[in-house]
């Protein structure tokens, strides 16, 4: 709580006399205190935060709401645009084209990468999923305040729905990506099956991250202005348009280790390995098969607990 709340508390009437003088009927001498009365009849505190297990069941019970809310948001996104839902495919393509122009043609960061277009597009599309999810997380509580103040439901539904919306968009851009990868000459192999567990882990990781950012942004609305810069810095460190093992060859080992442990790079590498035959297993970051599930679990569980911890606070705005 900020200092302003404390200053507000000084002008409150004393809690010793909660009953107004002209209350009707006047309280009897043997009338129990309200808290005692509530306890005697087993009344619960309104809007209290449920236990973690119960909260998890409540969220699971609203799974239809989460999915319906997510699809509706997705459908509503482009209703006023002329090209409509086509933007879902066009946006990632334009994105990839811009990065190709800057990094592939002008700056030439494609050193040591055989199939740069597919390499770049995979990086851009995968990172875009995380970036978009985090960006929408900053609005998921402040942007739905009227809904929060109108209906009682577990608030985690909102950031989770935001993640599902972005997952649906990502699924569409994956189809575009598959086309690009095949067109640039990569063969269709059994490795493509690895896409399924990779996307599942990535989605879990993003959901956790979204829950954390959603709670922070619910208190600090300024975060929405800051997040684009933070995610951009993160992107530059995630090997989206360069190969970290080439760049860090002459740098201290610690730098390489940090870049290798970066969860965004871990997931991007997994997707590249799954989709591209020209990416050998040897080029993957160390312990990638351990790092991916660990990051996903840590973010997923940690984010859920962290968000749940402030559940009763989300109405205040």
């Amino acid at each position: 709580m900020g200092e302003g709340v404390e200053t507000a508390a000084t002008d409150l009437p004393g809690s010793a006399s909660p009953v107004e003088p002209d209350r009707w009927p006047p309280p009897g001498p043997d009338e129990p205190r309200p808290a005692e009365l509530a306890r005697r009849y087993g009344l619960g505190v309104s809007g209290a935060r449920p236990g973690l297990g119960r909260y998890l069941r409540q969220v699971f019970g609203r799974r239809h709401f989460i999915v319906a809310f997510a699809s509706s948001k997705l459908a509503a996104q482009y209703t006023t645009a002329r090209l409509g839902q086509l933007w879902q495919v066009v946006t990632p393509l334009v994105n990839a084209a811009v990065y190709f122009l800057i990094f592939g043609v002008l700056l030439g960061t494609h050193r040591g990468i055989p199939n740069f277009i597919a390499y770049l597009c995979t990086g851009v599309f995968v990172f875009n999923f995380t970036q978009q999810a985090v960006q929408s997380a900053t609005r998921s509580i402040p942007g739905n305040l009227s809904l929060i103040r109108a209906l009682q439901f577990p608030r985690a539904c909102l950031p989770l729905a935001a993640t599902v919306t972005k997952l649906q968009q990502f699924a569409l851009s994956l189809l575009v990506l598959a086309g690009i990868v095949l067109l640039t000459g990569e063969p269709l192999t059994w490795r493509w099956l690895l896409v399924v567990p990779s996307v599942a882990l990535l989605a879990l990781f993003n959901a956790g991250l979204v829950l954390i950012v959603a709670r922070l942004a619910a208190k600090t609305t300024d975060l929405a202005q800051l997040v684009p810069f933070l995610t951009r810095i993160w992107m530059y460190g995630s090997g989206v348009f360069y190969a970290p093992q080439v760049v860090t060859r002459h740098l201290p080992h610690a730098v390489a280790a940090v870049l290798d442990a970066n969860p965004a790079y871990v997931f991007i590498s997994l997707m590249r390995y799954a989709l591209m035959d020209s990416v050998p297993a040897g080029s993957l970051p160390h312990h990638v098969w351990l790092a991916a599930p660990l990051w996903a679990l840590a973010a997923g569980v940690g984010g859920f607990v962290y968000f749940w911890h402030a559940e009763e606070e989300y109405g205040r705005g």
């Binding site: 508390a9 309200p34 009849y41 309104s46 809007g47 239809h64 809904l147 109108a150």
Partner: protein, 257 residues
Amino acid sequence: MAEQPTPTVVVDDVHVVYRVHGAGAGRSTPTAAFSRLVRRQRSPGMREVHAVKGVTLVARKGEAIGLIGSNGSGKSTLLRAIAGLLPPHRGTVYTNGQPSLLGVNAALMNDLTGERNVVLGCLAMGMTPAQVRQHYQQIVDFSGINERGDFISLPMRTYSSGMAARLRFAIAAAKSHDVLLIDEALATGDAAFQRRSERRVRELRRNAGTVFVVNHQTRTIRDMCERTIWLESGVVRMDGPTDEVVGAYEEFARNRG
């Protein structure tokens, strides 16, 4: 004193303070914002509103309680605190089960069709998809949205304010509730809709333990509630039989006007 019915809502010395961003006071230039940041002052655009100041009340099973008071006296805020939607700054609200707030201000998603809004609202209240299908037609009929053509398949931003309010109320009223809080919901819509909604509220009240009604029309309060609480500036001014309290309130309003 005779044995009283079981309490369903106990409000114990509740204070509600909420923060409003963007209240237009003070200089709003970047340099002013920066100097506030350096001096660790709060943004002047953020104000605290102390809307409810220490309300204590006990509501019992089968009661219908009216809430009256001037605009901005904290009626709606108190209802939201009872519903657990606005956490109290101090004090506690105890309830039997989860209270439900029927408000016309429940904003839905304006870019979506009325149809989608019905489905989403029902799912958010905890209905299963099967229950939503079962209630869907009933909600549309109740709202009267489709009386003059197929409006339910249009986005909600094309609705008139009365139509949107009717649809919101119809969605919220589709479910039966333990403790029911009705915020001005009966004041919207045309006469036919008002009759339908008052009938629906009586039905809901038979199933509900306790009903709270906020309304500016004292006639509605007199019709529906035996007990009335008069709030003024966030403080309970009077709490008692409807006739007495509404009489005193009307006297007060006449003198002020």
